[in-house]
């Protein structure tokens, strides 16, 4: 990982467009403050917030008073990123912040409504703010990046007309999570898992991102978006690529992202007219009553999707992805279910199946790993039971808070390390996988979303979907497989 020495002669400025919004206050500034307390911020870092709220430096600092240590570095400009005139004002303000001498590095952070991305990027191009003539220029873009393949491509085209790809940092904040990064370490820094990490030993993989929240006030946005755009196109597919990828030749951004793109390429596309065999849409019962949601809305707040990776490593191993709102738990888990031992030496009761081993990765909450295996029950006779080899971050690294994803991501962006950001081809591949499913769900022949009760695990059709495959949804952390 590159760690650039602070440029003592010049400056580094983080320009947050849309700084009066939630993200700055809830995530970005706290992350910067934490980095600062650990001595990891470039010494010369300045922060310039730009937004349409009418405020000045002092008022903006007052909003962020909780992070007093950063106060002196915080500046504000009332301006509209879509206005070239305002961008000129931004440049002037930057000049005064940056001072003279040395190189002036800038990280532009688009904390804006996605509809503004295009004009923001074009604007930065037109005002020549993207040119790295006296220091580097980088652009961080939040999700969603496009709403389908076509719009994503257009957005990439705009971005590439203004920036080089190596200047563009698309955030999927899941990649900033410790446990997600740890997946790579777990796989590639230990000799014991790789020999098992393929179709010969793995029966299937389940990836679950479940939320308890409903959509709250975001009806307008969510009704246009739905769970497949909101969660599958980004987080779930990212998790899948990390599980499925080949080892990169080196631990650096391009090598890593090349391998991820290879996985995405290999995923078998679902035909829209066939979607019912591979995916189950769901909607929580009171969804249509939410404000901003159309009373006849068919937007899916839940989906279960089965994907196949057509390559030598994974042929025949299904990847089951599911995510939804208003479910029973808030958790993100990856469960790798191994095949059963080929020959059972030990006595089983008549109706017992040979229990298979599972490796569960808890991305959140309670970050850690469990390896479920069979052990002898301490008893005079021979009986087996399931036991778990457990590791939890909070126990092992107690006293050390797990850094928020944004800490990691901001630092990497400041250092120019794109490993944990999504590349343009990754984004487009992911859309090309999800688009046909969304399209399929909207066809008149497709199943309408199945209802499920709030606080349940989703529609019963999703359970049947698994059962037809001879499998069941697993909830990690409980001995043995249990249909939740």
């Amino acid at each position: 990982m590159i760690e650039a020495a602070p440029d003592s002669n010049g400056s580094t400025t983080l320009v947050i467009f849309g700084a009066s919004g939630d993200l700055t206050r809830r995530k970005l500034v706290p992350a910067l403050a934490s980095l600062h307390s650990k001595g990891r911020l470039p010494l010369d870092l300045q922060i310039l917030g730009v937004a349409r709220s009418d405020m000045d430096d002092e008022q903006f600092r007052a909003i962020l008073a909780e992070w007093a240590a950063l106060s002196s570095r915080i500046h504000y400009l009332h301006g509209d990123v879509t206005s070239l005139q305002d961008l000129e004002a931004v440049k002037d303000k930057l000049a005064s912040i940056e001072g003279n001498g040395g190189s002036h590095n800038r990280l532009y952070y688009l904390s804006l409504a996605p509809s503004l991305y295009r004009s923001a990027m074009s604007g930065l191009g037109e005002s020549r703010m993207s040119e790295d003539f006296d220091g580097w220029r980088r652009l961080v873009v939040e999700k969603p990046f496009g709403t389908d393949l076509t719009s994503a491509r257009e957005l990439n085209d705009v971005a590439h007309s203004v920036f080089r790809e190596d200047q563009v940092f698309r955030i999927d904040h899941y990649l900033g999570k410790e446990t997600v990064q740890n997946l790579l370490v777990f796989r590639f820094a230990n000799a014991i898992f790789e020999p098992l990490w393929n179709r010969n030993y793995i029966d299937h993989v389940q990836i679950t991102v479940s939320e308890t929240l409903k959509i709250d006030e975001r009806g307008d946005y969510y009704d246009q978006t739905g769970v497949l755009r909101d969660m599958f196109q980004n987080h779930l597919l990212q998790l899948l690529t990390l599980v499925a990828m080949e080892p990169p030749h080196a631990f650096e951004a391009e090598a890593l992202r090349n391998e991820k793109v290879k996985v995405l390429n290999a995923i078998r596309r679902i035909r829209p007219d066939d979607v019912g065999r591979h995916a189950i849409p769901g909607q929580y019962r009171t969804y249509r009553d939410e404000s901003g949601v159309s009373p006849e809305s068919d937007t899916a707040t839940y989906a279960a999707v089965r994907l196949h990776v057509d390559n030598w490593r994974w042929q025949g191993v299904p990847f089951y992805l599911r995510s939804g709102k208003a479910l029973r738990n808030k958790s993100t888990e990856i469960i790798i279910q191994f095949r059963s031992p080929p020959h059972m030496l030990f006595p089983l009761a008549d109706d017992e199946d040979i229990p298979a081993n599972t490796l569960a990765i808890f991305v959140q909450p309670d970050e850690g790993f469990h390896l479920e295996f069979q052990t002898k029950t301490p008893e005079a006779e021979l009986q087996m039971r399931t036991a778990e080899l457990e590791f939890h971050y909070h126990e092992a690294f107690s006293g050390q808070a797990i850094p928020d994803a944004y800490e990691r991501l901001l630092l990497d962006a400041l250092n120019g390390d794109a490993s944990l950001f999504t590349r343009s081809d990754e984004i487009e591949q992911a859309w090309s996988i999800v688009d046909p499913i969304i399209e399929g769900f909207s066809l008149p022949t497709a199943p309408r979303p199945y209802y499920y009760s709030e606080g349940s695990w989703g529609p019963v059709e999703a359970d049947r979907f698994m059962l037809t495959d001879g499998r069941a949804w697993l909830q990690a952390g409980r001995a043995g497989s249990a249909m939740p």
């Binding site: 052990t375 080899l389 590791f391």
Partner: protein, 460 residues
Amino acid sequence: MTAVTEQASPCTMVIFGASGDLTARKLIPGLYELYRRGLLPERFAVLGAGRTGMSDDRFRRRMGEELANGAGGQPAADRERFLGALHYQQLDTGSAGEYGKLAERLRAVAAEAGTGGNFLYYLATPPSLFEPIAGGLAGAGLAEQQDGAWRRLIVEKPFGYDLESARTLNERLHTWFTERQIYRIDHYLGKETVQNVLVLRFANEVWEPLWNRATIDRVEITAAEQVGVEGRGGYYDGSGALRDMFQNHLLQVVGMIAMEPPAHFRPSAVRNETVKVFDSLRPIAPSQVSEDVVPHHLFGTPPPSVTDGVPDPAGYGQRAVSAAAADASKLIIRIQPDEAIQLCCNVKLPGAGFDVRQVGLDFRYADLADTYLPDAYERLLLDGIMGDATLYARADAIESCWEFVTPILKAWRDHPGIPLHGYPAGSWGPAAASSLFRRPGYGWRTPMPSLSDPGGTVAL
């Protein structure tokens, strides 16, 4: 190992050396636990036999005291019923003429208890009495199996003190008992955690593919004792550890770790596979003994440190892709104390970069709710009663282990020039022991009292 569904057939157990320590500390308490769990046959009796004179009553009272001192809380009535099944016969076990008396008493006890003709003979005596007792039983017609009744002979260790003596003992015993009747104890095989090696390996998909030279760099097996030699100096001279621990316990554990999967779980299949391991051990030539085996002897007073018996297969990992060098993964099977299984592998250190650190994925027996870890003897006694010899050593296994160990003993005896390394009590043994690894920086892993403590490595 016995499956739950079988029912134990009625029998009477004769314990030779019943006035000794083993009976009071292990055998009777073991039987009592089996009784409490309903695993003893419906009709069962014990006849203790020994040189010390004692009445049935006195024997019962003595055993009763032992039980009362042990795991507390049992209702006294329960104990009384169990103790009622115990009997005692004074016997000069070394004298062949005495066995007629034994036969008479035995039949009387069996008749009263309704156990029929099944007899389980347990030799809890010094090894010098093994032959006289076996011969005496045969002489009194008590060895032969007839009319559907079984007779089994459980022999404690040590079984011989070198290859020749072990062979001789086997030959002698075979004149009176068939091999199928002979059960040689290695109580390590009765330990939960040791049996669990078999379950761990063969009831799971994830370990077997790794269980070979492609993934495993080396296996370390450590049985460290805190207790000094104390009163047993005569038994424990320079070659004491080799005979006491190596020839039996450690090699048996090697057998379990290294064996091929048996086709099924019957004693013959399992023991065939472990014998194959012993037969495959590369013999250490006399000239190599000084390099390949490091004898050491303890000097000084016993330390306040911890008892530990830990077999430890270590896995060797490839170099990580990340910046920091990664330690090899390890699978640690802790037999005692703090019985557990731990998988040590590399995880990312929280924070910036991709630095790795080794942590343990733990499973502790202590974490299982209401876990009772049976004493090894409980297990072995039950298997003896059920006639399951899986966890007992077979004649060829014993001889194969002695075949491996004896040349080492011989070399030490014949070449006094081979250094005997001293080590202070409370240390991890002599530094020279690390020379066995023949790789710089490699050394013995030091097991810690608690598995959470990763300990260190004793390297040269």
